[in-house]
Amino acid sequence: MSETVRRTAAELAEALAAGDVTSTDLTEAHLDRIEAVDGAVHAFLHVDRDGALAQAAESDARRSRGEARGVLDGVPIAVKDVLTTRGLPTTCGSRILEGWVPPYDATVVTRLRDAGLPILGKTNMDEFAMGSSTEHSAYGPTRNPWDLDRIPGGSGGGSAAAVAAFEAPLAIGTDTGGSIRQPGAVTGTVGVKPTYGGVSRYGLVALANSLDQAGPVTRTVLDAAMLHDVIGGHDPRDSTSIQQEWPSFTEAARAGAAGDMTGVRVGVITELAGDGWQRGVMARFDESVELLVRAGAEVVEVSCPSFVHALATYYLILPAEASSNLAKFDAMRYGLRVVPEGDPSAEEVMRATRDAGFGDEVKRRIILGTYALSSGYYDAYYGQAQKIRTLISRDFDAAFAQVDVLVSPTAPTTAFRLGEKLDDPMAMYLNDLATIPANLAGVPGISIPNGLAEEDGLPSGFQVLAPALADDRVYRVGAALEALHTAAWGGPLLDKAPELAGAATPEGSR
């Protein structure tokens, strides 16, 4: 493997600034790495070699003129296939959008382009972001670089695996119930779900509008913070985007990296532990908490009683919104069109297309959501879910009155085997138990790698949640814990990941 691809985005940015490498060099190195390993990992649905190299060349030209647009100018990135990209296919992992090339960029993508980050390609995902394993992609699953027989998490398994397999230093994910954080946990990478409204959703193909949030997928907390600084901030095209000046998350991460947690009040969420939580995951969690205590944090246990209803609430609100969002896929204007035999009506074309174009999980949730919104059921399901959602927000408010941040394991288990939970939707849904409350309340959260479970040798994740708008806290605490762990391990956790088969590029070749 080229050493270039193992470097963090922050290191690459420094090397670019120092003139030690060109964007073309490192973009090419990552494209080569994709070529070498993505046959095994399948993190990408579409690789844009020509486009990425053209953007890299432009970046190099800018830099040579002294006009670099920002620290990450020239550092390549992968984008989850749920964000629209002008001129690049956007499928959302679904057959129904096969071949669709959007005529416009999502605001996040516009900001990446404006900041000069070459876009390597689009990453795999569960269809319309519905799933926790990326097995629901219509284009085949992504595999976990730690063990190719295991899932990389989901829905953003492609982005997490791309970063974990050193195919990209940075990626964009989206998180509706954990789709950035849970893949981060099971691939030993970092994922951040910003405060709802912190990053524009314009051009993010909505799963559940009131829950979705795009965010960074990286290997280090500092890289995530740098990327967040690029993509965040108000967007007039998204009415739910927050109008305020955000502090520098890069600075927050740098400050945290000193590892001093003196005076920081940390709450361990009582409800996010117990039966069904993997032993090794809990052991790593306890060790991380112990590290925080030793670094000066005050740790208390905090109860959030309504969290036990979070999963049920989520699986009413999400399908309700999704059932309506997905109605637009009707073969009339774009995407797949299936025309039945005979002389079909428009409605028959819609029906046949939706039948052929959507996978089972998508259909399941459309049916659930349609039911939950139906007259006579609305109050009992959707209406009730909104009330519980309010209670969950109140639990957060009460908890954050006592502590600065809340912590839990990111996911109850390490990566499970491909196919293991495919026939048991409830078991699959349970993997998001710890991540869902943050989406329901709109608060920010980070997952950082915190070790390997001894029973299977696979990564576990540590989640830090902060009050809405206080994203800087997740970077500060995340960076501190990352520094403490890295010091204890003697290097990044990903150093322990196996070398990928078929990826035998000689060291130092680039």
Binding site: T90, P102, V205, N209, P236, S239, T240, E321, K328, R333
Partner: protein
Amino acid sequence: MTETLMAYDDVLAAYDPALGLEVHVELNTASKMFCGCPAEFGGEPNAGVCPTCLGLPGAMPVVNGKAVESAIRIGLALNCQIAEWCRFARKNYFYPDMPKNFQTSQYDEPIAFDGWMDVDVDGETFRVEIERAHMEEDTGKSLHVGGATGRIHGADHSLVDYNRAGIPLIEIVTRPILGAGERAPEVARAYVAQLRELIVALGVSEARMDQGNLRADVNLSLSPKGSGVLGTRTETKNVNSFRSVERAVRYEMQRHAAILSGGGSILQETRHWHEDTGITTSGRAKSDAEDYRYFPEPDLVPVAPSREWVEELRGTLPENPTARRARLQAEWGFSDLEMRDTVGAGALGLVEETIAAGAAPQAARKWWLGELARRSNEDGVDLVDLPITPTDVARVQALVDEKVVNDKLARQVLEGVLAGEGTPDEVVEKRGLAVVSDDGALGAAVDKAIAANPDVADKIRDGKVAAAGALIGAVMKEMRGQADAGRVRELILEKLTV
């Protein structure tokens, strides 16, 4: 399909009608309800579209502040409460001309609610209660090609133009209008006509019914006389003239009554209005099974107009319609009857604009309620929809006043303008309609008439001046109507008297 109808007087003897009107007003904002595309319908199909109004994956709506302002002004003019906080909702149903397969509308939280409008019907005031006025977006427009009817059934294929998709609409819904009795059709018509007048005065819409800027849906039900129990209603969609509103109400009353008196029951359904035959036909059944699965639009934040803003907008309202009618009647010196006819014909604004363009009040009234009212009846279109402007009418009267044309020729000028031949002056020019008042040409014609009618001439010489009429008629015939009748009379008298 022929429906059995009950004679109108028999309907009234047995039933009380309940009316409900839903009027959609297309706003004249520069951009669409939720995106920056031009809010102009027409033009090259699918040119005025963007990811948002096309419903492309990932696109998001942003509320048009100007549309909210117009909605609030309409609400205030209808004496409504203005919500302190309200949301948009999704109305979910599949239709090819609806880009997202849901319409972003308002459901249980309208921007304006609990208002009223006083409607004049033959000099009597009828208070129509307004339940709500809410904001929504228009759909695209389907064009069904190849069928005989232009409807989807029987068409070879359909084309969809999304230029209209997302144009802001305000839907104004009345409470059930009870107690109108025999006047129900007139009340319905007067309500829509006066609502249009109000919308025009507010300047928030072009408000042309023939262009679809203003669309009325007519709800009607009957209850057995005196029972006070509301019957099952039908909703007749897109009734697009004042006259048709009146006819549709009358037709549905007669149709319902025939069914009910025969022991049948009314099917709750939408019905199509047929302008040409003056009947309604069954549309789709509207049962409880139809479920739009409304829920609050999660991509938009609530609309929360500050009270200061609402009061500021209240200050921009035009004069209230009742006060306005009283003021205009006094200014114009119209009798009660003249005023009532003017209002009833939906001509108040037209007469006002014609006067503003220079015509005398009685002259303006005479043209709109005379010749033009006759034409609107003949053609089955509302006065406002006739292809002639108040400025044209004022100019025609000016031509009469300047003696360029006489009354008879003026009617031909109007006809020319209505036929699209141009402005009144252009019609006079093209048709050669100017009257002859040149003494030389007229004198020759007068001499000829005198020579041809010696007995009439003798009578006049004997002092029977009234007989001059016969000679004037002969001269006018000779001149094919294009003579100044006053000057002809003077010339005749000059030649035969003294």
